[in-house]
Amino acid sequence: MKRRDFVRTLVSFFVAGKAAISQQQRVSDPTLPPPAPVPWFTGLNSRTPVPATELADHVATTELTFFTPLQMRTLTRLSDVLLPPLNGKPGAVKAQTPKFLDFLIGSSAEPRKKIYSGGLDWIEESAQAKYKTAFAQLDDNQAGELIKPWLRTWMSDHEPTELHADFINIAHDDIRNATVNSKAWNDVPSVGAEPSTQTDVYWLPIEPDVYGQNPAYAHTPPHVLAAPKDGQKMPVYSR
């Protein structure tokens, strides 16, 4: 919630409260209608229904912000090869993973951006050099010929650092995690060793947006919020 919205809400809260109290004071006047049984705001309590909301990602669309159209076509094909639909589970493409990665990588630090941009350009050039066609048009075997030499095992947050192996393995890991943690994947029950969507305790921002309190710090971005406060409306209930 922006500060001005917060103030507006606060003001309307007190105005409404004063009006309710004023009504109670006039109860002895027989010409006035009877007041509401209780001030309306006492209805905001632990039993108040909470509106159900959806993550915008589930229902809205967005424009590409980082990858070029060619890079996105390459990433989409790469995602489909590395994590295709299997055993009833959706693949990376149906999980909208390439579009999600455009958002994630586009807001990541420069080294991560370079790995993706450089990696996608490299694999496209490799496809053109070997097959004289775009990577997005390769069949699974052709794509595998370009991918498999660079697959590595790795552990403990130590991504491969070798050129090309870094991109292939990091992208594979990201594509896999983003897909497993998508709504499309979560909607289909996992069987056997198929990974399940991560469920955990999510910590909300624990203090107010400290930067919003002081214009001197307005240049510094606020904490990342799980859900935009602007999107949250004060519920209104019929009486």
């Binding site: 697959l151 947050d157 060793a193 469920t199 955990d200 305790v201 999510y202 400290v210 971005p221």
Partner: protein, 524 residues
């Protein structure tokens, strides 16, 4: 402006394990304490909810830009760590450092992994053993009674199976038998004189072994503790007449109101590097010139992931499970020509899935591997001692301030061949042990994570008998200012392979009892 003019007995800065223990011991001795914590109180019933990653905008990934150097961060816990834009730090080019901080009340004690070890005299008297560094001014015998009391408070589970380099303690005894996979590993290690012991872990209460549930309630019950949240300490203040610390100036992190408090004694427990940053920003306790020096931690990240063949295809139910600690075995009775000191292995026989990173495959082939190898993983990772070196240090960066205009810390540290050679040796030994046990090694890594990653940073305010070479005496008391104590990991003279928490708690308990006695007898 001090609105109450009240002079507290002791000002404690920080509320984690070190500050919580100081508060407990001092208040129980009848001393009135004021505790300041830089962040808010976390209430899990109010501040957290169980969610699926598919309902989060970053799908569980660490949100970019705010906690980029915290490998442990993800979207679920991103809000508990210190925001690196709010409280930045600077590093030397090419020398990364992961400074992992929590400013919630209780600090990092809310989230630690609870491994609970004592240091031995191989650490306390390290120089006497191998000639490098400095001996501590205390020995295991000095700290042993405090370790025992801490172990009882924190309900440490373990077995009395430690060799001299891993002293036993007052444990809730773990007498579970080893599983067959662990026994095979032990059979491989024993002929090589590599000890394999039961893990040692604080059970706490309901799995939480934090300051907020095991220490602060006792302090609050005495009626002698006053606590303030969101108090970001700017500097320790000094009495102009005596030159002694007499309180601090702080800024309220929400309102930005500048405040101050007074106290007869100041106890620093803000976490190793924050305590040292505060001393450096205050211009205190540095007649030796070693304040900020000898920063050390532990190397993490190197290790091996293996698979027990007989447990594959869902046949591991009676084979797998359990964990062990392999305490340091290098440079105890023999001497390596590759490195000083040594490392331990955390060893786990897994009953769940193996990560996809352990297979050079994708698509249907990868899914088949994951199904086949499910419940057969055997993981060994190291905790290795980092040598305390003068050149590994922190200082104030005069060109950068945090969100409250407090100068930030510049961290200038790096690992050397000693640590890199240690990690290589560990991976070679782990691979050999796994292969001897008949396990298949799937992946390995011999490159340590960046310094700081272990969240076991220690040193920079080290204790010693020689005030020209140390900041604190053997009671965690400043050589320069008798009413200033540093009771957290900054006080360590050197490190070890062990998780430092039990030692931090025991040092804080010991120092606080000493301080209480000094105050109650009129010496302070």
């Amino acid at each position: 402006m001090n609105m109450t003019n009240e002079i507290h007995d002791v000002l404690i800065i920080g509320s984690g394990h070190a500050g919580g223990m100081a508060a407990k011991m001092l208040t129980e001795a009848g001393i009135r304490c004021l505790m300041l914590n830089a962040g808010p109180v976390a209430d899990i019933t109010r501040d957290a909810e169980r969610l699926s990653a598919s309902d989060l905008p970053y799908r569980g990934f660490r949100p970019p830009g705010h906690v980029d150097h915290i490998a442990q961060a993800n979207e679920f816990n991103a809000n508990v760590w210190v925001d690196e834009q709010e409280v930045p730090y600077t590093i030397e080019t090419g020398q990364p450092y992961s400074w992992v901080r929590v400013r919630l009340f209780g600090g990092r004690s809310l989230f630690w992994s609870r491994q609970s070890f004592r240091l031995s005299d191989y650490e306390f008297k390290c120089k006497s053993h191998d000639g490098f560094g400095e001996d501590w001014p205390i020995s295991h015998a000095d700290l042993a009674p405090y370790y025992s009391r801490v172990e009882r408070i924190f309900r440490v589970a373990g077995a009395l199976d430690g060799p001299p380099q891993m002293p036993d303690g007052a444990f809730i005894l773990d007498d579970d038998p080893w599983t067959p996979s662990m026994q095979r590993f032990i059979n491989a290690a024993t002929p090589r004189n590599i000890p394999v012991c039961k893990q040692r872990r604080a059970l706490g209460v309901n799995g939480l072994a934090s300051s907020v549930n095991l220490l602060l309630p006792d302090a609050e019950q005495t009626g002698n503790l006053t606590s303030i949240a969101n108090a970001v300490v700017r500097e320790i203040t000094v009495d102009k007449n005596t030159g002694l610390p007499n309180g601090c100036n702080f800024v309220d992190r929400i309102t930005r109101r500048e405040m101050s408090v007074k106290a007869r004694v100041v106890v620093l427990a803000a976490g190793t590097l924050e305590s040292t940053r505060l001393l450096l920003n205050s211009g205190l306790a540095n007649s030796s010139g070693v304040l900020g020096r000898y920063l050390t931690d532990q190397i993490y990240g190197a290790g091996v992931v293996a698979s027990v063949p007989e447990a594959r295809n869902r046949k591991g139910e009676k084979i797998m499970g359990g964990s062990a600690i392999v305490p340091r075995f290098r440079n105890i009775d023999t001497k390596s020509d590759k490195f000083l000191r040594g490392y331990a292995f955390n060893t786990t026989s897994m009953t769940g899935p193996l990560g996809a990173r352990n297979f050079a495959a994708y698509g249907a082939e990868l899914e088949k591997k994951l199904e086949e190898y499910y419940g057969s993983g055997f993981v060994m990772t190291i905790m290795g001692e980092v040598l305390g070196r003068y050149e590994n240090h922190v200082r104030i960066d005069k060109d950068k301030v945090d969100a409250w205009d407090i100068p930030v810390l510049h961290i200038d540290t790096r690992y050397t061949d000693n640590e890199y050679n240690m990690a290589k040796d560990a991976v070679a030994v782990a691979s050999e042990l796994c292969e001897t046990a008949g396990f298949e090694v799937l992946s390995k890594n011999e490159v340590p994570n960046p310094p700081g990653y272990s969240i076991h940073e220690i040193g920079t305010c080290r204790m010693g008998d020689d005030k020209k070479k140390s900041v604190l005496n053997k009671w965690n008391q400043s050589h320069d200012h008798k009413n200033l104590f540093v009771v957290d990991g900054a006080s360590f003279t050197s490190g070890g392979w062990q998780n430092p928490t039990m030692t931090i708690l025991s040092l804080s308990m010991r120092a606080s009892e000493y301080l209480a006695n000094e105050m109650n007898t009129g010496n302070l």
